[in-house]
Amino acid sequence: MQNIIKLITVFILVFILTIFYLSLNRSSNYDTKFLVGNKLADIELKALESEKFFTNNDLKNNNYTLINFWASWCAPCRIEHQFLMILSKNENIKILGVNFKDKKINALNFLEELGDPYYYLAMDSSGKQSVNFGIYGIPESILVDNKLNILKKIIGPLNEKDLEEIEKIIKS
């Protein structure tokens, strides 16, 4: 009987230590990068400057599409904009900009000031469409191929490293 109790005590101790060890070695930062490899959900995004709607079919015509959620009130969006401008010059990729919870006039002023990298310009004034993409803060970008497979998800502003990685993916 004594042995059984000792064995159970050792088992519980080992279990607790294993849980601590695994938890300490795990990244505690939440992200939605698990969506990479999944198919893009059905989308229907209203154009910012017309009554048109962008759907999955529009994106299927491009080799690669970068879906970028942005807003004029978002400071990190200003920082990443230069990288979007560089990327927009690459013919292998089209950028779909989704203006998030913003005023149309502010969005257009933002683009006039910093340049317009977007091939498609859509709006999500209520923010509800962003849930379909697993967005929980902006800026966020999603790289998809012509079969609408999610190849990369960038949470936060794009940087030089992200730009290099995207260019590497779309080159191959």
Partner: protein, 122 residues
């Protein structure tokens, strides 16, 4: 006239009970959804942009006739199981769900053997 009043009260009751059920469901769902950009808050407790957006989406999904489980399933597809305070039972968290029962069985066995031992002594 009396019958009309009775009809009126009857339909008023139905409307009130249906709307209160919806409200109850909605707030229950909000309590089980984690605000991903907050510190340990559910979307029911938060007024962040993300929580507000999610509340609107939940409202829409309820209007579309989705069940509570379907709403959780939709959101965990987009944000992972982390968004749920009460995660779904699957092979990854099988041990987490079954651990209390394992402890209960082991504890029960220990108590059983201890009592048996005491009885033998006496």
């Amino acid at each position: 006239m009396k019958i009309r009043i009775l009809y009126f009260i009857f339909f008023l009751n139905i409307t009130i009970s249906v709307s209160s059920n919806e409200a109850l469901n909605e707030s229950q769902i909000h309590k089980n959804l984690r605000c991903l950009v907050c510190q340990g808050q559910s979307i029911a407790d938060s007024n962040s942009e993300f929580a507000q957006t999610l509340k609107m989406v939940v409202k829409d999904l309820i209007k579309q006739g989705k069940t509570e489980d379907e709403i959780y399933s939709f959101l965990s597809d987009k944000y992972g199981d982390w968004i749920l305070y009460k995660p779904k039972f699957n092979y990854e968290n099988f041990f987490l769900w079954s651990f209390p029962y394992i402890v209960l069985v082991f504890g029960g066995l220990i108590v059983f053997f201890l009592i048996k031992k005491q009885q033998k002594k006496t």
